[in-house]
């Protein structure tokens, strides 16, 4: 268990996009784990660096681009030390040292120092008026220069340089872009697209000098001009260097961390010192450094997962795409588009419309795309690129985009950009495009979930999700990191588990065929994956009303025993809280002998397993067990399995509460309930935890002053300690919280999704809010569970042994004596 009094200290160096995204993701997963301190050289909260270009162009203000204000840090108990720079990491004492000499200790350290603009080592580079383009300070100086001076030279014809040049031009300056090569944005564009881009920027008044090498920056007290390799000179009052970025890893290197072109990190975002993590532009992962936000956000998620001590996510690198944020110019590029012998190209050029598209294929897959003039299909190509889709069947028409493919398999990929603001995007909730665009820009939404929460678009049937993502991508430009495609429930449908559950409720669907019909299942009768899932969803949604479909149940749940590899079954009667009696043991012994049961074994869940029972003997075995007062242990069920207990205060000298009694109470209340996946409980009488409660789906650890409730543990394929949920004072409260928690899981979990996975998906805080904090909600959940138990608590063995349910299941249809 974690010590809740002295929390571990997490120090973050760098208050930028990657660092804070990591902190946000960490708070979602483990809000109380750390004492967090963030150091940032810049005197602000966290802002969206990408949008500095529109700020420079006068399209947005600095306030517009703030992501987390100072209040946010306070609200989340984070100490923000803005305007303070860390000058040293002392790994020996585990401390960071500020430039003012302050020492701050850490248990874990996160380095997110971003990168610095490369300043070419030219004569005159330190003159006033020569600046990079990286932060608010740079933008302020550029804006100031644009009011005081006329001539600007931007060195570098890449993404950043062109956005800077565009902004300065909008501010009224004469701008010349100097570029070393003869293609603009050569890393993202091929020569044709680069030429088209140059032409349209020239039409707007931008001047280019390329190819050209800068030799010196001229001036005495301030820059006055630039001299080139060919001897020519240009007047300049402002020189912006935008030739590239250099990962900012000096600090790490000085501390002895291994660096190459960046701080070298593993797939878990750890540096060579396991206590020190690094994310963002300052890192090098698998020989790769990144300069765009989408990969940084992926890194942040993985890093947060490890900081939260979940320890299972890995970062495998990212594929990136770029969109130039110059209003009125549509440009998109992704992947690898250098020509090669094993590559094929599809090119479309329409000089009249100013459209150029080049799709690069290799082994039937898209490996690169360059679009100019018409970029609507950019995200669509990018999706196929990332997914590695085999596109050979649509090769002929590929270049015309998704809309021309008809049944291309991607829903609603019409020209989002061409739609009017009144076009309805979400039919269920009547949300039109304009409303979504407005919400994205005004509320600074980043993700699909944000948009769902704020506009309700795509929050119902979800069939418009593709369109909403397009609107997002189109509105945010390169800024949008596409959420992974929602995973369909199984191959029989495109709908996700969440969609199916929601529609079952909204449309009052009450049978499996009704769900399949309404949601347009692609197969007749579904398959072995979706049928049991639907059966569970219907059972959990309509207790007492829905008739359990035996043919949609996995065999174990149909015959209430566990199939073994030889086709025989194992039988486990319930032993409440692991407590048994001589009478029960005698009955079990008799049954074992009577039916020649080959193996009798004690299970990990504190009960007895009879292995090797023939199917046709099952009803008779159950009848005998029933007669001795025993019922099914549901050892086969996606439902409540065991409640493991220790002897607690009744016998143990350390016991603080009656853990056995509480376990029995829980089991008696909850047995028979179906859940998305199996549920195992544990109750320990004191923190010595003999019942191993902290690796169960739900665990109770009794203490002197009450009951600590933990959940979301697992000890199977994955081993995971539980999360602390809350502490309560009485047994009744314990029961109420655990039952409410289980009910929430029953209502939200995906079929076969264990509780710990559900928790990781939904978020601990979300769950705590609804089960612990919101007492009315807790009681409502409890009531719903109790209601459904009315219909669930019949012993399936008794029904079959003596009441003739499913009699056919256990007898052969016929016996033939073939000659």
């Amino acid at each position: 268990m974690l010590d809740k009094v002295t929390k571990q200290k997490l120090v973050v160096i760098g208050n930028g996009m990657a660092g804070i995204r990591t902190v946000e993701a960490l708070l979602e997963r483990a809000p109380d784990l750390y004492d967090i301190t963030v150091f940032g050289s810049e005197p602000y909260g966290n802002y969206n660096r990408i949008l500095l270009s529109p700020v420079l162009a006068g399209e947005k203000t600095v306030d517009d681009i703030m992501l987390n204000t100072v209040d946010w840090y306070e609200d989340n108990n984070i100490t923000l030390r803005k305007g303070e720079t860390i000058s040293m990491i002392d790994r020996r004492t585990c401390e960071v040292v500020t430039d003012a000499g302050d020492r701050v200790p850490y248990d874990r350290l996160l380095i997110a120092t971003g990168s610095n603009p490369i300043m070419l080592p030219l004569p005159g580079k330190d003159l006033p008026g020569v600046i990079g383009f990286r932060d608010i300070y740079d933008v302020d100086r550029m804006i100031k220069a644009s009011t005081d001076y006329r001539n600007a030279v931007v060195i570098g014809g890449g993404l950043l340089g062109l956005e800077a040049a565009n902004g300065l031009m909008k501010r009224g300056m004469n701008v010349t872009v100097v570029h070393l090569l003869d293609t603009l944005m050569e890393r993202q564009l091929d020569p044709v697209a680069g030429g088209l881009l140059r032409k349209s920027l020239e039409e707007r008044g931008m001047v280019f000098k390329m190819p050209a090498q800068t030799q010196a920056i001229l001036g005495e007290d301030r820059v006055t001009g630039v001299r080139f390799g060919d001897g020519t000179e240009l007047p300049a009052d402002l020189v912006v260097m935008a030739v590239g970025i250099r990962p900012n890893f000096e600090l790490a290197k000085k501390a002895g961390l291994y660096c190459e072109r960046g701080i070298v990190v593993s797939d878990t975002m750890q540096t060579y010192d396991g206590r020190i993590y690094a994310v963002g532009e300052c890192v090098q992962h698998r020989r790769q450094t990144y300069g765009l936000v989408a990969p940084l956000f992926d890194q942040a998620k993985v890093c947060a997962n490890h900081l939260a001590m979940k320890g299972f996510a890995t970062y495998d690198g990212s594929v990136t795409s770029t969109k130039l944020k110059v209003t009125g110019i549509d440009l998109f590029s992704a992947g690898d588009f250098a020509p090669g012998p094993d590559k094929e190209e599809i090119v479309l050029q329409d000089a009249n419309r100013g459209v150029y598209k080049r799709i690069i294929l290799k082994d039937k897959k898209i490996v690169g795309a360059v679009l100019y003039g018409d970029t609507i299909d950019g995200p669509w190509y990018f999706q196929h690129l990332r997914d590695g889709t085999d596109v050979s069947h649509m090769r002929e028409r590929l270049v015309f985009g998704a809309a021309n493919l008809g049944d291309g398999g991607v829903n609603g990929q019409n020209s989002v950009a061409a739609m009017s603001d009144e076009t309805e995007i979400c039919g269920c909730n009547g949300v039109c495009k304009g409303a979504i665009v407005k919400a994205i820009s005004e509320k600074k939404l980043f993700t699909l979930d944000d948009v769902r929460a704020h506009t309700k678009a795509s929050s119902s049937c979800g069939s418009c999700t593709g369109l909403v993502e397009q609107v997002l991508a189109f509105t945010l430009g390169g800024d949008y990191s596409a959420a992974p495609k929602v995973k369909p429930l199984c191959k029989c449908t495109d709908h996700s588990h969440d969609d199916v559950r929601r529609v079952i409720v909204e449309q009052q669907l009450k049978t499996i065929p009704a769900v399949m019909r309404f949601m347009e299942w692609k197969t007749l009768n579904g398959c072995h994956s979706c049928r049991p899932a639907l059966n569970y969803y219907l059972l959990a949604t309509w207790p007492g009303e829905y008739r359990d479909d035996q043919q949609s149940r996995f065999i174990n749940e149909r015959v209430h025993a566990n199939i073994q590899k030889d086709g025989t079954y194992s039988v486990v009667p319930r032993m409440w809280g692991g407590v048994t009696t001589p009478g029960e043991l005698r009955a079990i012994a008799d049954v074992a002998e009577k039916f020649n049961i080959p193996t009798v074994k004690v299970t990990g869940g504190q009960r007895i397993d009879l292995l090797g029972v023939k199917k046709e003997d099952l009803p008779a075995v159950w009848a005998d067990l029933n007669d001795a007062g025993m019922v099914s242990g549901h050892a086969y069920a996606k439902g409540l399995r065991t409640v493991k207990t220790c002897v607690g205060s009744e016998w143990c000298r350390f016991g603080t509460q009656d853990s056995t009694g509480l376990g029995v109470k829980l089991e008696k209340f909850m047995w028979g309930s179906w859940t998305p996946a199996k549920v195992k409980l544990g109750v320990s009488g004191c923190p010595r935890n003999c019942a191993e409660a902290t690796c169960k789906d739900v665990g109770v650890v009794c203490v002197d002053s009450g009951y600590e409730i933990h959940f979301a543990g697992a000890a199977g394929l994955h081993i995971k300690g539980t999360e602390f949920l809350t502490k309560v004072e009485t047994e009744d409260e314990t029961l109420e919280v655990i039952v409410a928690l289980t009910q929430l899981y029953r209502e939200e979990g995906w079929y076969l999704e264990r509780m710990y996975k559900w928790c990781d998906r939904v978020g601990l805080e979300q769950i705590r809010k609804r089960v612990v904090d919101d007492i009315a909600n807790r009681k409502a959940l409890f009531a719903r569970f109790a209601h459904s138990q009315q219909f669930a608590q019949t012993d399936p063995w008794a029904e079959r042994a003596s009441r003739g349910v499913d009699r056919n299941e256990f007898a052969p249809l016929a016996e033939l004596e073939l000659a």
Binding site: T523, L524, N525, G526, C527, H528, R531, P532, Q550, Q551, S552, R553, F554, I555, N556, R558, V559, I563, K565, G567, N808, P812, L813, A814, E815, L816, E817, L818
Partner: protein, 109 residues
């Protein structure tokens, strides 16, 4: 191959379910689809011998309960990418009665 043998009423097999016919040469699983067609297969998955009669039936296929092999009821063939074949027998329904014709050679197990 045996002649047609009457093995029971169609209604004794659940829709999208199966019942077993015992023979000295091993069990035969008789399946009933949603549209009341019947099929008969040896009750052994070609993979590891799992009892196909205990699987989930969908359309004209059954999924083996042990390792999720999917078998075509009509041909006994495993659905790609899995490979293997289970012996089939002839089955038919007439006036609500199910008839079976056992292919002897196949049922040896």
């Amino acid at each position: 191959m045996t002649g047609w043998i009457e093995i029971g009423a169609l209604d004794d097999i659940p829709r999208l379910g199966s019942r077993v016919v015992r023979t000295p040469a091993g069990n035969i699983a008789v399946f009933r689809t949603e549209s009341d067609e019947v099929f008969a297969l040896d009750d052994r998955c070609p993979h590891k011998g799992g009892p196909l009669s205990q699987g989930i039936v969908h359309n004209k296929r059954v999924t083996c309960p042990l390792h999720n092999f999917v078998i075509e009821l009509a041909s006994g063939q495993a659905v790609a990418p899995d490979e293997g074949c289970t012996h089939t027998h002839l089955a038919k329904v007439e006036n609500g009665v199910v008839w079976l014709s056992v292919r002897q050679a196949a049922a040896v197990s």
